[in-house]
């Protein structure tokens, strides 16, 4: 048990579980911000995978780190844009719940 | 940490703690007595004297009591400085409720003691004394009391809390003009 940290699989499983939680939240969450939170989980699941591969497999250990850094940057940008969109949606429809937004179409 | 509400008849006894033994209680009381944080709660003229007593000349901070906290949650003693009227009374009650134990009340000024100069038969708006609805611990008479009296009141409260007085008593003297 105590040597778990030295196995690639541990990280991969954690990444997978985070990813799963992300998907779970994405489906379950009724509101846009909730979904955004789940997306962040998905992204971090992916980052964990990258880092794990980087650590255990990659020949150049900077690659994975840089990719993770890029993921962070992208995640931040995505969060900024997404939140602004959410706000714009909220402004216009006074709701950020997906159901309400779906109803709007009909 | 719960707040089991006790019956609304207010005694002047502080509810007990989970763990308590005598020596510790004494120590706690000593600490409390020396760190009485009043609530920023000025009502009328007396509040100015309260302010004065926090200022340079009189300096409540010498007794560790200058930390006027704006939030009732952080204060130990409510100095009712001024007239309470019927419109204010509910607010005072709420503020008192919102203070955490142990808490004390000082009625500063004649208004807080009995309605002061504003009581007359048939008056319609002044509450005749804070002690009609609050468990007042110390009364400081005067209209307004001098800041010294407020300090004296705090010392009196400390005496009430710890059971003995650490400071000398001052006998008023009059200046002789010559």
């Amino acid at each position: 048990m105590l040597t778990l940290s030295t196995h690639l699989n541990t990280y991969l499983v954690i990444g997978a579980v985070l990813f799963g939680f992300g998907i779970f939240g994405l489906v379950r969450r009724p509101s846009l911000i909730g979904m955004l939170i789940s997306v962040e989980l998905v992204l971090s699941g992916a980052s964990v995978n990258f880092m794990a591969f980087n650590h255990f497999l990659a020949p150049d250990p900077t690659v994975g780190q840089i990719i993770t850094l890029f993921i962070m940057a992208i995640a931040a940008a995505e969060a900024a844009i997404a939140l602004s969109i959410v706000l714009a949606v909220y402004r216009n429809y006074k709701s950020i719940e997906t159901e309400d937004l779906v109803e709007l179409k009909g | 940490m719960g707040t089991e509400s006790i019956p609304t008849t207010v005694e002047s006894v502080i509810p007990p703690a989970l763990v308590q033994f005598h020596q510790l209680d004494k120590l706690r009381m000593l600490a409390r007595a020396n760190s009485l944080w009043p609530m920023t709660f000025g009502l009328a003229c007396c509040a100015i004297e309260m302010l004065s007593s926090g200022c340079a000349r009189f300096d409540l901070s010498r007794f560790g009591a200058e930390v006027f906290r704006p939030s009732p949650r952080q204060s130990d003693v409510m100095i009712v400085a001024g007239t309470i009227n019927k419109k204010m009374m509910p607010a005072v009650k709420i503020l008192y409720d919102q203070m955490p134990e142990p808490k004390w009340v000082i009625a500063m000024g004649n208004c807080a003691i009995s309605g002061g100069p504003f009581v007359y038969p048939g008056q319609y708006n002044v509450v005749e004394g804070a002690d009609t609805f609050l468990p007042v611990d110390v009364y400081i008479p005067g209209c307004p009391p001098r800041p010294e009296a407020l300090i004296e009141g705090l010392l009196e409260l400390e005496e009430k809390i710890t059971g003995n007085r650490r400071w000398p008593r001052v006998k008023p003297e009059t200046m002789v003009k010559g």
Partner: protein, 177 residues
């Protein structure tokens, strides 16, 4: 090789376990609570765990950045957005029906299982070549300046566009109010 519990390695193992727990608990809080602000807190907790994992993966810099960016910035921004858009969650509760919850659980479980299965059973090659550098901060910086310099600049443009876009979007309603 099973280190004793009280050797540094053993303690590190314990910490690792704790970190996994933290990550998982964070993820659970982030997805399962009804209050959005709690979700954000959960997300923050989860990120703290993930940062710890990164640390174990030998890149303290990324771990710290995870804290700085995700906990310190992204979570804060999301919290502000929540403050603006959905401060009271009373409405939320009724929306989560058993059905969508079940569906979500199935979806998530499926993905997680599939990925984990693939991961565990995948035949990952051990690195054939010797590692070229130690992956330290300096190395990252150097590669950013050389190999990835284009990306480095592009990132700034992406950020600029994102920020300008976000500002435009967020401001669009400001004057109307």
């Amino acid at each position: 090789m099973n280190p004793s519990l009280f050797s540094p390695e053993g303690l590190a193992g314990v910490i690792f376990l704790i970190l996994i727990c933290v990550t998982m608990i964070g993820a659970i809080i982030a997805t399962c609570t009804t209050r959005l602000i709690r979700s954000v807190s959960g997300l923050a907790v989860c990120f703290v765990g993930v940062a710890g994992l990164y640390y174990f993966l030998n890149s303290p810099f990324v771990a710290m950045m995870e804290l700085l960016i995700y906990v310190g910035a992204v979570c804060v921004t999301i919290a502000f957005a929540i403050m603006l858009a959905e401060p009271d969650e009373a409405k939320q509760a009724r929306k989560i029906t058993g059905l969508s919850g079940g569906l979500a659980a199935i979806c998530g479980g499926f993905f997680a299982y599939a990925l984990a299965y693939a991961a565990v059973n995948g035949k990952w090659m051990t690195p054939a070549v010797k590692r070229v550098n130690d992956g330290s901060l300096k190395e990252i910086g150097l590669s950013l300046l050389t190999r990835y310099s284009m990306v480095f600049e592009l990132v700034s443009i992406v950020l600029l566009i994102a920020i300008v876009g976000a500002l435009v979007l967020a401001q669009s309603g400001r004057d109307k109010a």
